[in-house]
C-alpha cells in the first residue's frame, strides 16, 4: 500500500521511536508503569462513580415521587395517618401509601437490618421475578417473612427456617422464612426483612394510626417540585422530599466521595507531574548522546524534535491503553474491589452488584486529554 510521503515520514519516525523505546526499555518501563497506574486509578475512580450514578438513576426511576416525613425538633417521628388523608385530597396526588419501616441492630453479629412492611393485598406486578421461590404473597401467613439474601446468608437461613426478631419490649418474636429475594434485587433488598404490617407494628411499637412516613405518587411526576412546595405548606410539621432531590443527593454523595478519593490520589498525581516535568525539562545523558548522533548523521532539529514527540506520544498511548483496560477489568469484571468500599458506602452487609455499563465516552476523552 502506497502511503503519502508525509505519512510515510511519520511512520518512519514511529518506527524509530519504537526501536528507541525497545532499546532503552529499562528506562521506558518505569515511565509506562507509573503512567499506567495513574490512568488506572483515575479511570477506575471515574468509571465507578459514573456507574454508581447511573445505577441510582436507573433504579430510582421507579421510586415514589414524594416522601413526606413528620419532623419534631429536627427529628423524624411517626406521622399520623390523618396526614395521608389530607394529602389524598390534593388534586395533584394520585396515591398516598403509608410506609412502616425501621432498623434492627443485631448486637451479636453487629449488623443492622432494615425491617419493612407490606400490605397483603398489594404485591409486585405479575411476572416480576423478584423472589427466588414461587409464592403467592396474599396467601402468606402473618408470621411469615421474606428476606434479602444478605440477611439470610448472615444468619444462615433457608426457606422454612425460623427467624427470630426482638420487638420493642425486648421480647423475641418467632417468624418463618417463606422466601428470598433474587440476586437481581440485591442492591435494594440485601439487608431487608419484609414483614406483614400488623406484625411489624408490634415489632416497632408503632401505633395503628401512625406510619413511619408517607410516599406519594403524583399524576404528573414532572411537577414534583411544585407539588412538594404546596404539600409542605399544607402540612407545616412535615418535610417533603422529592425523587429528584434524592437523585441529586446520591449524585452529590458519590461526587463528594469521588472528589475525596481524587484528593488522596492528588499526591500520586503530583509525584507523577514531577516526573513528567523532570523528563520534559531536559534530556538525559543517553538522550543527549542519541540526539547528537542523529544530528551528526544529518537529521534536522525539527526531525529530532518530532522523534522525541513521537516517543512521548507512544509512551502516553501505551500507558493510556493499558490503564483503561485495567480500569475496565477492575470496575466491570472485578466489581471495583479496590474502590467500592470508599465510593459506594459502608455496611456490614455489603451487597454484590454489577455496575451498569455506563457510556464512558466523556470519561475516556477526559483521560486521553490528561494523557
Amino acid at each position: 500500500m502506497k502511503l503519502p510521503p508525509r505519512v510515510e515520514g511519520h511512520l518512519a519516525l514511529v518506527d524509530r521511536a519504537v526501536g528507541s523505546l525497545l532499546r532503552g526499555w529499562a528506562r521506558a518501563l518505569p515511565e509506562v508503569l507509573v503512567f499506567t497506574l495513574v490512568i488506572f486509578l483515575c479511570g477506575s475512580l471515574l468509571f465507578t462513580t459514573d456507574g454508581l450514578r447511573l445505577l441510582a438513576d436507573q433504579t430510582l426511576a421507579a421510586s415514589p415521587e414524594l416522601i413526606v416525613q413528620r419532623v419534631i425538633g429536627g427529628r423524624a417521628v411517626p406521622i399520623p395517618l390523618t396526614h395521608a388523608a389530607r394529602l389524598s385530597d390534593h388534586p395533584a396526588v394520585r396515591r398516598v401509601r403509608p410506609r412502616v419501616w425501621g432498623s434492627f441492630y443485631d448486637a451479636t453479629r453487629q449488623d443492622t437490618y432494615t425491617l419493612m412492611s407490606y400490605l397483603p393485598g398489594e404485591g409486585p406486578p405479575p411476572g416480576a421475578r423478584i423472589l427466588e421461590q414461587t409464592l403467592r404473597l396474599d396467601a402468606l401467613g402473618a408470621d411469615e417473612v421474606l428476606v434479602g439474601r444478605g440477611y439470610a446468608r448472615e444468619e444462615g437461613l433457608r426457606p422454612g427456617d425460623e427467624v427470630i426478631l426482638t420487638d420493642s419490649t425486648g421480647r423475641p418474636r418467632i417468624f418463618r422464612l417463606a422466601g428470598l429475594f433474587t440476586a437481581a434485587t440485591d442492591l435494594w433488598t440485601h439487608d431487608l426483612v419484609l414483614v406483614q404490617e400488623p406484625a411489624l407494628r408490634e415489632l416497632l411499637g408503632l401505633a395503628p394510626g401512625e406510619a413511619s412516613d408517607l410516599v406519594v405518587d403524583l399524576h404528573a411526576p414532572e411537577e414534583q417540585e411544585a407539588v412538594a412546595s404546596r404539600l409542605a405548606g399544607l402540612l407545616p410539621d412535615c418535610r417533603v422530599l422529592t425523587r429528584d432531590g434524592l437523585r441529586r443527593g446520591y449524585h452529590s454523595a458519590f461526587g463528594w466521595k469521588s472528589g475525596a478519593a481524587m484528593g488522596i490520589l492528588a499526591v500520586l498525581l503530583l509525584a507523577f507531574a514531577t516526573l513528567v516535568w523532570s523528563r520534559a525539562a531536559g534530556p538525559s545523558q543517553q538522550e543527549s548522546k542519541e540526539i547528537g548522533v542523529l544530528r551528526a548523521v544529518g537529521w534536522q532539529v525539527r526531525e529530532v524534535l518530532l522523534l522525541q514527540l513521537w516517543r512521548g506520544t507512544l509512551v502516553a498511548l501505551l500507558a493510556y491503553a493499558l490503564g483503561v483496560l485495567g480500569a475496565f477489568l477492575h470496575v466491570f469484571r472485578f466489581e471495583a474491589v479496590l474502590l467500592r468500599p470508599l465510593l459506594a458506602g459502608w455496611t456490614s452487609l455489603y451487597p454484590r452488584f454489577d455496575l451498569p455499563p455506563s457510556a464512558p465516552g466523556g470519561t475516556l476523552l477526559l483521560l486521553l486529554f490528561c494523557s
Binding site: 511512520l11 514511529v14 518506527d15 519504537v18 433504579t59 430510582l60 421507579a62 421510586s63 416522601i67 401509601r97 410506609r99 432498623s103 443492622t112 432494615t114 407490606y118 409486585p124 406486578p125 416480576a128 421475578r129 423478584i130 429475594f181 437481581a184 434485587t185 440485591d186 442492591l187 435494594w188 433488598t189 439487608d191 410516599v215 412538594a228 412546595s229 409542605a232 405548606g233 407545616p236 418535610r239 422530599l241 422529592t242 425523587r243 432531590g245 441529586r248 443527593g249 466521595k257 501505551l318 491503553a321 483496560l325 475496565f328 477489568l329 466491570f332 468500599p341 459506594a344 458506602g345 459502608w346 455496611t347 456490614s348 452487609l349 451487597p351 454489577d354 455496575l355 451498569p356 455499563p357
Partner: protein
C-alpha cells in the same frame, strides 16, 4: 526497473531475482513458450520474501488489541425489571449501600470509611435524611431570616 542489487547480480551472472535460471526448453513440463506466457500473466514470479512488519504497525496493532480487550470487558446490560418492580412495590428510596451506623449504632464501632464521611460538608449516609436532598419548599423562613409577606398566613379580608 531493476534495483541496484539486481543489476549487480545480473552483471556477475547471478540470477536477478525475478526468475530462476532458465532451463532448457525440453525440461519444461508444459512445453516451450509456457514460461513466457506465465511471466506475462505474472504467475511465474518467484514469491518475494515477506518483509517483517513495521514496528509502527506492530505498535498500533498492540493498541488495537488493548482497545478490543477493554471493549470486550464491558458487562452486558443488566435486567433491571426485578429491581424496579421491587422498588415500585415497596416504595423504596435507599440503596443497601449504607446502614444507619453513625446514627443508630454505637458510634464507638469504627467503620472503615467513617473518616471520609463524618466531616463538615460530608454527605448524609442516608439520602432520605436530607442533607443535599433538601426540602422542596421555601415557605418557611430560614433561622434568623426576614419574614416576608410570602411567609405570612393569609387572613380573610384582613391586612
Amino acid at each position: 526497473m531493476a534495483t541496484a542489487g539486481e543489476q549487480l547480480r545480473a552483471r556477475a551472472g547471478e540470477p536477478t531475482g525475478d526468475l530462476p535460471p532458465a532451463r532448457p526448453a525440453a525440461d519444461s513440463p508444459v512445453g516451450p513458450g509456457a514460461r513466457q506466457l506465465a511471466q506475462a500473466a505474472g504467475l511465474a514470479r518467484r514469491p518475494r520474501r515477506m518483509r517483517p512488519p513495521r514496528p509502527a504497525w506492530l505498535f498500533f496493532g498492540l493498541l488495537l488489541l488493548l482497545a478490543t480487550g477493554a471493549w470486550l470487558s464491558r458487562p452486558a446490560p443488566r435486567d433491571l425489571a426485578p429491581a424496579r418492580a421491587t422498588v415500585a412495590w415497596l416504595g423504596l428510596t435507599d440503596l443497601c449501600l449504607t446502614t444507619e451506623s453513625p446514627a443508630g449504632r454505637n458510634p464507638a464501632l469504627a467503620e472503615p470509611a467513617l473518616p471520609l464521611q463524618l466531616v463538615p460538608g460530608g454527605p448524609e449516609p442516608f439520602a432520605a435524611l436530607p442533607f443535599f436532598a433538601r426540602e422542596a419548599t421555601d415557605a418557611r423562613p430560614p433561622h434568623g431570616g426576614r419574614i416576608t409577606p410570602a411567609h405570612r398566613p393569609a387572613t380573610a379580608g384582613g391586612r
